[in-house]
Amino acid sequence: MTQHASPPRDSTGKVPSADGPPAWRGLIARADVRTLSLLGVLAALIIIGGITKPDQFLDTRNLQLVLTQASVIGVVTVGMTFVITSGGIDLSVGAIVALASVWATTVATQEYGFGGILFTAVLVGVGCGLVNGLLIAYGGMVPFIATLAMLASARGLALQITDGKTQIVTIPSVLDLGERDAYVLGIPPLVMVFAVVTIIGWLVLNRTTFGRRTVAVGGNAEAARLAGIDVRRQRLYLYLLSGLCCGIAAFLLIILSGSGQNTNGNLYELDAIAAAIIGGTLLSGGRGTITGSVLGVLIFTTITNIFALNNLQSDVQQIAKGAIIVAAVLVQRRTASTT
């Protein structure tokens, strides 16, 4: 599949027609085969979960648990989807989450309370994203190398800040957000943040100039430049966006785990890339789908949940996870090629 044609594509990979289809047809067109096949995989998993552990799996608390556990990596994946859509990659997301979480939970930061922790986490995330963006957009570095360097140095800095110690959060207003009392209409605050980030991400990618430019840069950067897009600035913004998502995710992780540790965000980069790829975002750029990415994250989280509920050990989990990635991508290719 060559997706390097110059006309910008929407999230489904189709070139929008000039006059546009009627609204109802648009809805169906948007819920394309890929998304449907992902929904199918998720539905199959839900059925498996329901059959193997009906009492535990189909419990409201379990739904809350799955969505909560999807939130942190989910927010990271939304940012990653933008970067990959533009033809880039961000290997530093896990390390940025670690650095942001330990910086935000230092004793000095905890003195400033809730606001101090949130502000620091977001600031560190954006700061790292800015460095990534400048190196890639204006320093001419390959994204793979620049973000790999960020991965190494952010992890090192996180270790230096913590000195290997676990930084426990003592601020009640932060911790309370992870408690059941904070749920509004049964929805945990973390899940609400995830939902808001997803919706904003979807709107930005599919309904704004920024989103169209992102797709255009990923499809053919040279054509995008000739079409008058400031490709460098666009790339800078995209890595900033990814860093921002990491900062938000770090804050969510602090609420969830009640601490900051330099091991936080371990292998997030691989999970986020895998979720985006399964979702239908092209690794070569030019096509991205927030819906698909989020479904990818939900599929992974649901698998982990079903395994844990059935007391399967981690070796079995890893093998099955790999098999499901392969199966999901194969099913997608088959369904996509027959239509």
């Binding site: 648990l65 290997g164 936080n264 844990a308 007391n311």
Partner: protein, 345 residues
């Protein structure tokens, strides 16, 4: 080969000294019934011969490893006759080999090595021994006893065993009791040993059944995630054995978030936060099984004794032992104050 030569030399030397003593005994008219141990005093706090100890450990990216470094440093500072040459910790095998070789070249008197990977660093241990620098192998063991003069480390099997016995005694008399296990990194040998010890202990209590086990990654984040799942999977159980207090911070957070308090929890390692929770006694955590980081301080003691040619106080032998396995004591409310100072952050 030189290793064997030096051991032969040592044997010959000992034999010669022994023969000399025998001769003296035979020729002397005075009866000398004093135990020979008096000739070779045990190490004590009094300053003796100057000893330079080289210390090489892994990167302190975990609370326990950080405590290991702190323990080694503060113990060495205690002795006016000890100089500590400490290298920057590294988890990279090649880097750690390089650091140990530097210490060998500096001709330190004794080496204390906590290898990031015991198997991978065996060769450099052998190299030090062949250069006549005795090695104290700390915790992660080398492949062959030829690579160290003395091994001191924790007892992973014992941790599981003692945790299992503690839980067994607490649940004695309760029929159809159930326990669950939150293990550490499953690809580490020590995790398997901790689980094996736990399972073996439970065999003594037929009323208890282990109903679930999940492996976390020794991190707070993984502890929270795995525990949240376990709590959802097991709506009722009587006890939880968690392999590590650091991931226990996350596990306790998940327990708190789920609003559960209907079971008892036993941790592992001996973190300060765990000791404090046990002392407060207002949560599920009732005990933790030690894997004491003080072993690093003991390794410094052993290295000093070795450098000064002394034995261990309270033991009859002339020399320090070849192997010391620490005891995995159970710390609960009754004795937590005694251990509080050893708790690591």
């Amino acid at each position: 080969m030189s290793r064997f030569t030096s051991r032969r030399g040592l044997l010959f030397g000992t034999a010669a000294v022994g023969a000399g003593a025998l001769l003296t005994g035979c020729t002397s008219n005075e009866s000398k019934d004093e135990p020979a141990a008096n000739d070779q005093p045990a190490a004590d706090d009094k300053p003796g011969k100057q000893v330079t100890i080289g210390f090489a450990g892994p990167q302190a990216d975990h609370g326990w490893l950080n405590a290991i470094n702190d323990n080694a440093k503060s113990r060495a500072k205690k002795y006016s006759d000890v100089t500590l040459e400490i290298t920057e910790g590294s988890n990279d095998t090649a880097a750690q080999i390089g650091q140990i070789e530097t210490l060998i070249n500096k001709k330190v008197d004794v080496l204390v090595v906590l290898p990031a990977d015991g198997k991978a660093l065996t060769q450099v241990g052998l190299k030090a021994m062949r250069a006549d620098i005795p090695v104290i192998n700390l915790d992660r063991i080398f492949n062959t006893p030829q690579a160290y003069r003395c091994w001191i480390g924790g007892d992973n099997y014992g941790m599981g065993l003692n945790a299992g016995h503690y839980i067994g005694e607490k649940l004695k008399g309760k029929s159809n009791a159930t326990v669950i296990e939150l293990a550490g990194l499953d690809n580490l040998e020590l995790t398997k040993q901790r689980t094996q010890g736990f399972d073996d202990a439970l065999k003594n209590y037929p009323n208890i059944k282990k109903v679930a086990r999940q492996a976390a990654e020794f991190t707070v984040e993984s502890g929270q995630a795995k525990m949240a799942q376990l709590l959802q999977a097991q709506s009722k159980f009587d006890a939880l054995w968690n392999h590590d207090d650091d991931q226990g911070v996350g596990a306790l957070r998940a327990i708190d978030q789920a609003g559960r308090d209907d079971f008892l929890m036993v941790g592992g390692a001996g973190a300060l936060s765990a000791f404090q929770a046990i002392k407060q006694d207002d949560g599920v955590l009732k005990a933790t099984v030690l894997y004491p980081p003080t072993m690093a301080a003991s390794a410094i003691d052993l290295a000093r004794a070795l450098g000064q040619g002394k034995g261990v106080g309270g033991m009859a032998e002339f020399e320090i032992p070849a192997s010391i396995t620490l005891y995995s004591a159970v710390v609960d409310k009754t004795n937590v104050d005694q251990y509080m100072s050893t708790g690591f952050k």
